[in-house]
């Protein structure tokens, strides 16, 4: 079996995903160009060696529509022989593209593949692409779709998590992220975004709220109570009738922030890496995508992780560090509970609650963050997972080499 190796992983800083965010003025293609240039320069890469580019993007229209991957290749002046593909696995898109690159390499039908993601949520708001799952009443009524925030509240209600549990988790995310930022833990991966004159636009994650405290978090209003009461709770009840009510406790403070950003990972076979003088940093041990019941939606990481461990012939105790996307607090707390993960091994540098969640890019960002931290601590194995719309879940296990 040919193994898939990670040679490099980079990302832009995460901007606030709204008009006041620093990256609002930057086009998504520009964000991709930033990380592609960095990969090329850092690795002294002759781009004609690259077989393919996979770019995850959840709302692929307008500025990020019509196959942004191929557009970015052309715009960045990469070799014309490289094909590009945009893919959408919702929040896991960035990691799914990495996994697909790994599969291509393991199959032997490619030996150097780039994978990552992009999302400008400020320019192309979530849901702009419509879709039957969200907006066709005939489909919605048949499939039990509810907005993710209501799903997160549903998880909290079933698991008995309190508002304080969620806020406490959110505070920890903020504190850990701030600590990591202040100590430069992200510096290895972050590629600042410049304008065409070389003037700096953004060089660090800007969603963080260092002033966060429990009082402040507690004062925030529940975000999904209104839409829940409007009708989505009733959908929840029809799937989980033992619940007497849905406890709406997710807020803007204990949910992930909208963000803009791009990420890119360079993967290849050992042989190709040696030929090009690339130093392998880690090996992909397994990659899994599964799906659970779609109304509760966000509980996929546990079965995905278990399956990934099974594929890798590993046990939970074999994993040194865990990274699970903080779309909302409750899914992470449930994941931690189900998997029995020590608090000091999970999301050790914070997550999307503090740092933001640029949908299509996040998966590959998390992979890079995990790898950086394994290297910093000189540990070996890590597992990254994300919950996904529609009930899907993804997990990837890496091992440093």
């Amino acid at each position: 079996m040919i193994d898939a190796y990670i040679f490099d992983a980079v990302r832009t800083p995460r901007g606030k995903g709204k008009q006041t965010g620093s990256l609002y003025e930057a086009k998504p293609i520009q964000l991709l160009q930033t990380v592609m240039d960095a990969i090329q320069k850092r690795n002294n890469l002759d781009t004609k060696n690259v077989n393919d580019l996979f770019i995850g993007c959840v709302t692929p229209l307008w500025d990020q529509g019509a196959n942004i991957a191929k557009a970015a290749l052309l715009y960045s002046g990469w070799d014309q022989s490289i094909p590009g593909m945009q893919l959408n696995r919702f929040c896991a898109s960035g990691l799914e593209s990495v996994n697909m690159a790994a599969m291509k390499i393991r199959a032997g039908w490619g030996n150097l593949v780039l994978a990552g993601g992009v999302e400008s949520m400020s320019r192309v708001p979530m849901g702009s692409d419509g879709g039957p799952l969200l907006y066709d009443p005939a489909v919605v009524s048949k499939t039990g779709y509810i907005p993710q925030g209501v799903s997160a509240d549903l998880i909290a209600s079933i698991e008995g998590f309190s508002r304080e549990d969620l806020d406490q988790y959110a505070l920890q995310s903020q504190q850990r992220a701030l600590h990591a930022q202040q100590n430069g833990y992200f510096n290895n991966s972050i590629i600042p975004v410049y304008d065409e004159n070389g003037l700096l636009i953004l060089d660090k994650d800007e969603c963080l709220r260092p002033e966060t405290n429990m009082g402040g978090l507690n004062a925030l209003q529940a975000s999904f109570e209104e839409i829940g009461k409007m009708g989505y709770d009733a959908v929840g009840h029809s799937k989980y009738p033992f619940l007497d009510h849905v406890n709406h406790i997710h807020t803007a403070g204990n949910s992930s922030d909208l963000a803009d950003g791009a990420s890119l990972v360079l993967l290849g076979s050992k042989e190709k890496g040696e030929k090009l003088g690339l130093k392998p940093r880690a090996r992909i041990l397994s990659a899994v995508t599964i799906c659970v019941e779609p109304t509760i939606m966000l509980t996929g990481p546990t079965p995905a992780s278990l399956k990934a461990l099974e594929y890798a012939k590993m046990e939970k105790k074999d994993i040194d560090l865990w990274e699970s996307n903080e779309a909302f607090s409750a899914p992470v707390l449930k994941y931690q509970k189900d998997m029995g993960i020590d608090n000091d091994k999970l999301n050790v540098n914070g997550g999307a609650i503090a740092l933001g969640h640029p949908l299509g890019a996040t998966g590959a960002i998390l992979l890079g963050t995990l790898l950086d931290e394994l290297e910093r601590r000189d540990l070996s194995t890590g597992l990254v997972s994300l919950c996904i719309g529609g009930g899907m879940g993804i997990a990837t296990i890496i091992e440093r080499v």
């Binding site: 702009s128 009443p137 007497d244």
Partner: protein, 707 residues
Amino acid sequence: MIRYKKDTDNIVTLTLDMTNRKTNIINHEISQAFIPVLQHLKEEKAKGQLRGLILTSDKKTFLAGGDLDYLYKSYSAEEIFNYSQNMQLFFRDLERPGVPVVAAINGTALGSGFELPFACHYRIAIDKNDTLLGFPEVTLGIMPGSGGIIRLLWLLGIEKAYHVLTTGKKYSPKEALAEGLIHEVAKDKDEMLQKAKNWLMNHPEGRQQWDIKGAKIPGGSPKNRDTAKKIASLTASHIKKYRYNYPAPQAILNTLVEGAKLDFDTACRIESRNFTKLVLSKESKNMTKVFWYELNSIRHDKSRPKGFGKFRPRKIGIIGSGQMGSGIATACAQNGIDVILKDVSQSVAERGKNHAEKNLEFLVKNNKLTKEEKYKAISKISATEDSAEFESCDLVIEAVFENQQIKEKVTKEAAKHMDEYSFFASTTAMLSIDSLSSSFSKAGNYIGLRFFIPIGEHPLVEVVKGPKTSDETIARAFDFIKKIKKTPIIVKDNPGFYTARVQNVYLLEGIVMLQEGFPPAIIENACMMAGMPIGPLSKADNMSLKVVLDAERRAAEIYGKKYIIHPAVGVLQIMEKEERTGRFKGAGFYNYTNGKISGFWEGLTENFPTTQKDFNIEQLKERIIFAQVLEAVWCYQERIVSSVEEANIGSVYGWGFPSFKGGVLQFVNDYGIDNFIKKAKELELEHGPRFIVPKLLRQMAEKGEVF
């Protein structure tokens, strides 16, 4: 069938007058009759000899609706689809040749009958009290299918059209004007025709919004993100309201959203497809049976004792001016009956009259009544403390506290002043009509009238006949209830009469599930999912657990050895001991804070520990329905209720039995009588003799009969 008249300004008036029918309807016959007429009009237009067209009717109504008999009996998708497409073609032919058309709506236009005016370019209605305009199809489980949904979509946008179509509301001409359904009202036929002509003289071109290139649907297309978000919200509230049980509102929503993405003609074809599916659905057959055929048979006096002249109440007396008394007074006054409202003192009686006035004001606020009508109605009520005023009353109704002695006392007092021919009614929900009737001078003239609170909103009244009640009294009570625009069902004197007796079984079956170890939320949710309007635990709390328990105690007394004790009684006794008897106590199955539910009582899990972790929600849903159906079959077998119509209507109006099942007895037909008996036997094995199948049902199955 269609009368043609052309005036000197080249304006043609087509008057619909279908032969051998009391009303005009939309069917094959009329669409065929229109073909040559429309052809002729086209030729006239080409010759420049036609300025415009007025469409009106010579009947009392404009167009009563579609051909429901035809649709109800139809089981072929192809046939229904073609029917719908043909109607659409007819309407397109009317609106498209460029001849401006005015619908001169001289009276009621409902369903397909109201679709036709939307294929006209202008709509004027006479502002009459008894004119009703709207699309009530949804209440029969169907929807418009002649292009009406798509036309409404183009006029009002998705959200407003959804509201008009899913409420099935029937509008007065003024309300219809306010909703944007018609363009103008006129005070009489002459003015209407004059206005129609004026409009035609000023509008030589007739073109619909949807036939203008580049025109847009109000509120935007679903491709627009804000509109899409509104559709998502609408869908959420829709699901909450209908719990996946009602295909008609769902099909309406689907048609509107899908139709808004497509051109007019393709959208209409989608409407035909969805219409076809609905017409063929079990739900529409069930709902049409109960809300059309059965309700009409009650309205047409099928259950009323024969041989007695129509009773026309002029003046009635009411004793007790609380919520019940003042509610009945409101209903009477609104329908032109004089009311003597009596209470213990003049001031108390006046307070009751004020309450009635508030009821009427509420109706004015909701456009149900004009101010003048309100003044007229309130002047019909006179408050008093003196029974002597009952002298000239045709009927006296007592609506005092549920207490045998008090009721007997007020009855005797009133009887002194009533003549031999007048009759007396009690509103009791708990006491025996037979035992009360002895307090009236003539037991044959004593009857029960069980109203439901709030009276203004509830369509049903149980007319309770005691063993001594005369047929004539029943007939008169029946006529009175119809006069105040309620639906009467005749039931026998029996604890709980019909509706409360079966409802109690619903509550008990829900309550016993607690004892079996089901979590309370499951019980409430399962019942709501089954289509009940409110969970049994909250309903029991609202009614008071004492009332639920007392009904069982009375049944035990009356049925003696034959009474099968319901295992839920044990739960109720525990609740009684814990002093948690319901909402009015602020403590029942639920906790209450300021009168509002604030979660289940914590003691529930101590007293009734949750042991059922592996539950099958479908089984719970089925069982809760079966318990009600079996009890209703017992009632029917015991002649507590003596017709299928009354049993079905009583169930949906009385305690909210799911209407998509067509009522409580229709459920058996829908389920299949053999399957029903088989399932009931399984339930009997598992849960005991309360699920025994009544003999009547077994006999019906043997003979291959249905309800």
